[in-house]
């Protein structure tokens, strides 16, 4: 081992030895120190114990004599000791009866009490434990307890001590205060007035109404000043007042000022500001009550406007108005009053004057001034509303007067006279009554039955004639169903007609009814709907005419017509039969006569032959007669074979057929028309007339002229001759069958009858002008358009 290394080790070892000695010395010192300390502690402990004993007694005494109740209990809440105050407060004397504090605690606080006890055990002390407890006499007390643990010598907790403070009253006051605060809050929040709390210009609090009025939220308002929510001009004024308030010159002021809303609009509000001062008299804050009076101002304006309107209205009323106050002075009079009573003054001048003076002036127009005075005095005395008193004026006018007393809240305030001129109305009413009477009497006396029914066909009104027609009394009819009481045969028709009334239709119809004595009567009825004021159909009115007699005649006529038709037909058939039956023996006679002539010509002399010839001629005449009758009887019907007939051609054919004597000419003067007719009839018509004309001319130069002309409805033809003429007395007779004037063989007396019949058939007329010895003209017409 090198020397240095050895030295180092020696030195290190030396240091370690010395260090050990040093350490041992330190330890010895520490041991001595420890012993001394222990001795000292023992002595100190003994001293302290004595001290503690003495002191704890002192403390106990102190606690026991404290004014507040003091209680010591074990950990099970059993009371160990209390002071006098506690005895008094709780009502229990622990020396006489055992007491467990846990039993006194109100049930609501048991859980809290357990938790508090736990805290006490853990921490050692308990502060401000608050609970409700029952005292011996059952009173409920709110207490606050401060408690601490008591430990035994080993440091284990064995008991707890506490000081009880009765805070019942305190809690009550607190509850009361909080209740009051709540109430106040409710009042403030629900107040219809805006309420603002401000310090200086700064807004501290606003209620809901104020927020609503301004349109700001509560938070927004708290950021604003009074100036910011006030309209500029008003803000200055109110700031001045606030300043005075602050200086103590004012405690309260009220102004009307205009506020600015969030949306920039403004509103007028009545604002009353009060200052709330603190103890030293300086202003803590201001309370402002704000009432939006925009509507009130509007209402005031409206009231004024409506008062003005009313005044104008009364002024111009078509009724004289005189309003007197309770002292008889004129409060209101209109120009109509002055006009009605011919007063020269204008209404404005009369206001405030005595009403009696105005009446006095008016009175000179009144027909009976004495009665007027008496009545007015009576009315004024009674002070009852009087309506429609009638006054006759000297000039014939009739006035209606109303008197209305004015009573406000039970107190008489005056009265109102109004006069209206009812002359016109009165006359009108009178006229109306007269008209009504007139029509009533017409209805009552007319010969037509009148009935009114409602929509259910119930009879509402009948007149006398109706009663007479039906045989029922009015009382038997009113309210009954018309179709039943009258035993209407066509009930369905009545229903149908009533339905038509609802559609505003009027018409006439016939009904068969039974009258009271059961006879069937035919009635013609004109029905029309009945309307009420609102123009609604409320039933119908019927006017009834008894047509039973007409009806009977009509029926008779119809049966007669039928009989006539039958006998006409029989006659026609008879003519046919007769003509046929007559013609065949006639032909036999004619044949026998011609055979006789042929066979015995040689035997017979000239005279015999001549007589046979004459027989033949008579037979021919007889044959013509029979043919004529046949023709006549067959003319009756118009056949359907009507065609366009050219009458010129017809006349031409007739010229060729008939025998025209040498000395006679037939001339067509106007070209004849073409007519729509049966050709054979036209033939018969012209042939008969022309044959007649040409036959009876004894003149040396006979001339028959045919004329025609057109009228709007008919064709008119004239056939004139210059023959023998027809005496006046035969002018009618000649158209009748079997009437002939001439003695010529060919005249059968049927021709003109056929003519007349054809003209009749074509709805025309035939007549003649004739002078004996000069000639005859037959005129006839034919209707153009026949049905």
């Amino acid at each position: 081992m090198p020397k240095t290394e050895l030295e180092i080790l020696q030195r290190a070892l030396e240091r370690q030895k010395k260090a050990r000695l040093q350490a041992e010395k330190i330890l010895e010192e520490k041991s001595k120190e420890l012993y001394d300390t222990t001795q000292h502690l023992k002595r100190a402990n003994a001293r302290l114990n004595n001290l503690l004993d003495e002191q704890s007694e002192d403390v106990d005494t102190a606690f026991l004599s404290v004014i507040d109740p003091y209680v010591v209990m074990d950990l099970n809440f059993d009371v160990i000791r209390t002071n006098e105050s506690a005895k008094e407060f709780l009502g229990f004397d622990y020396t006489r009866e055992s007491l467990n504090l846990g039993n006194l605690v109100h049930p609501d606080f048991l859980q809290y009490t357990r938790e508090s006890m736990q805290t006490l055990l853990e921490v050692g002390i308990l502060k401000n434990y608050r609970a409700k407890i029952y005292t011996k006499n059952g009173a409920l007390k709110f207490v606050q307890i401060n408690a601490s643990l008591i430990h035994n010598n080993e440091g284990k907790p064995i008991a707890a001590q506490g000081i009880i403070r009765d805070i019942t009253q305190e809690m009550e006051i607190e509850a009361l205060l909080s209740e009051q605060r709540k109430q106040l809050d409710i009042i403030v929040e629900n107040s219809p007035l805006g309420i603002v709390l401000a310090v200086g210009d700064r807004i501290i609090k606003c209620n809901a109404t104020m927020q609503q009025m301004l349109g700001y939220s509560n938070e927004e308002l708290k950021e604003l000043t009074i100036g910011q929510i006030s309209a500029y001009t008003d803000s200055k004024k109110s700031l001045k007042l606030v300043e005075k308030l602050n200086k103590g010159e004012l405690d309260h002021f009220a102004i009307q000022k205009s506020y600015k809303r969030k949306d920039g609009s403004a509103f007028m509000a009545k604002t009353s500001v009060s200052s709330v001062r603190n103890i030293d008299g300086s202003v803590d804050y201001q309370v402002a009550m704000v009432e939006d009076i925009t509507k009130e101002i509007e209402a005031k304006d409206k009231l004024l406007a409506s008062e003005n309107r009313l005044a104008t209205l009364i002024k111009n009323l078509e009724m004289a108005v005189l309003l007197e106050d309770e002292h008889g002075k004129i409060a209101l009079i209109n120009s109509k009053f002055c006009e009605m009573f011919g007063m020269e003054a204008v209404p404005e001048e009369l206001m405030g004057q005595k009403g009696a003076d105005a009446i006095e002036q008016a009175k000179k127009f009144v027909g009976d001034p004495k009665a007027f005075d008496k009545r007015a005095a009576d009315i004024l005395k009674k002070r009852n509303t009087v309506l429609s008193d009638e006054l006759e004026m000297t000039d014939g006018r009739i006035l209606e007067r109303d008197f209305i007393p004015i009573v406000s809240e039970g107190v008489y305030r005056g009265h109102l006279w109004t006069y209206s001129d009812v002359t016109l109305r009165r006359n009108f009413r009178r006229n109306l009554q007269a008209e009504k009477d007139k029509y009533s009497s017409i209805i009552a006396n007319m010969n037509l039955g009148l009935i009114e029914v409602d929509n259910e066909d119930k009879i509402q009104m009948v007149n006398q004639s109706f009663c007479a027609m039906s045989g029922f009394e009015e009382a038997e009819l009113l309210g009954k169903t018309a179709r039943d009481v009258l035993s209407v045969q066509e009930k369905d028709l009545v229903l149908e007609k009533n339905a038509q009334r609802l559609e505003n239709t009027s018409d006439s119809y016939e009904l068969r009814v039974l009258n009271k004595s059961g006879e069937t009567r035919h009635w013609l009825i004109s029905g029309a709907p009945r309307y009420n004021e609102a123009n609604q159909v409320i039933g119908s009115i019927g006017i009834h005419l008894d047509i039973t007699d007409h009806k009977k005649l009509e029926l008779q006529k119809e049966s007669l017509l039928k009989e006539l038709q039958v006998s006409n037909k029989e006659l026609q058939e008879y003519a046919h039969v007769v003509s046929h039956d007559l013609k065949s023996p006639l032909r036999s006679i004619s044949a026998l006569a011609s055979w006789l002539k042929e066979d015995y010509e040689s035997v017979l002399d000239d005279n015999g032959i001549n007589q046979l010839q004459m027989m033949q001629e008579k037979i021919e005449g007889m044959d013509n007669l029979i043919s004529g009758i046949l023709k006549y009887s067959s003319i009756d019907r118009r056949s359907d074979k009507e065609t366009e007939v050219d009458l010129n051609q017809v006349v031409e054919e007739i010229r060729e057929i008939i025998f025209i004597p040498e000395h006679v000419r037939v001339v067509i003067m106007d070209t004849l028309p073409t007519v729509c007719a049966e050709k054979t009839k036209m033939h018969q018509l012209f042939q008969n007339l022309l044959s007649n004309a040409v036959m009876h001319i004894e003149n040396e130069e006979g001339l028959v002229k045919i004329f025609s002309e057109e009228t709007p409805t008919h064709w008119q033809f004239s056939i004139s001759d210059n023959g023998v003429g027809i005496p006046q007395e035969y002018h009618e007779k000649i158209f009748k069958i079997f009437q002939s004037l001439g003695t010529k063989e060919r005249s059968t007396g049927i021709g003109l009858s056929i003519v007349k019949k054809i003209v009749d058939l074509y709805e025309g007329k035939i007549w003649l002008q004739s002078e004996v010895g000069k000639g005859t003209t037959f005129h006839f017409t034919l209707k153009k358009d026949r049905k």
């Binding site: 290190a12 240091r15 050990r20 040093q22 350490a23």
Partner: protein, 180 residues
């Protein structure tokens, strides 16, 4: 200053630099205790300063680094001496958090006259802690070493940064963030 700091310092020097260095720094210093230290005794802080200064001269390493190395060493030896203290923690941050309230209380019981630094906790989460070291000795690097070693002991690592609040090192803020 407590004797245990001196004895452990010399143990550190011996293990790091050899017995010769220990002898050298003691011999080079004029120490009132003559370099004789017992862990239960109490000695002048200046002696430590002298010892450090001389060690610095001999081994030519900055005093700060030497203090840091001592910190690393001291944690282990303190752990060996009082294992029950460290065992009551299950995380390095938990241990650091309790220095003031728990560990130093125990130290005070054994060494009532010990002059201990204070650690004021500024912020603490499950994985980080910020605190201010404050001591008239200004041995914050020693504390640094102790903190690092503490994490090592729990098989963890941490980002330890410090900010010197007072120039003489009597107040230093440590921000410790445990690495994941």
């Amino acid at each position: 200053m407590k004797g245990i700091v001196f004895t452990e310092f010399l143990e550190m020097v011996e293990s790091e630099f050899g017995l010769e260095t220990v002898d050298a720094i003691i011999e080079a210093s004029d120490l009132p205790s003559d370099g004789i230290y017992t862990s239960v005794g109490t000695y002048e802080f200046n002696e430590m300063v002298t010892l450090l200064t001389n060690l610095n001269k001999i081994v030519d390493k900055p005093i700060e680094d030497l203090l840091y190395a001592f910190g690393l060493y001291l944690f282990s030896s303190l752990g060996k001496a009082h294992p029950e203290v460290i065992q009551s923690y299950n995380s390095p941050i938990g241990l650091l958090y309790s220095i003031e309230d728990h560990i130093h209380v125990h130290v005070q019981k054994l060494y009532p006259d010990a002059e201990l630094p204070t650690f004021k906790i500024l912020e603490k989460t499950d994985t980080s802690i910020s605190m201010v070291y404050s001591s008239s000795r200004g041995l914050y690097r020693l504390a640094h070493g102790l903190i690092e070693k503490c994490f090592e002991h729990f098989n963890a690592s941490a980002q330890v940064s410090f900010e010197v609040l007072k120039e003489d090192g009597t107040e230093v803020r440590f921000d410790v963030v445990q690495s994941a």
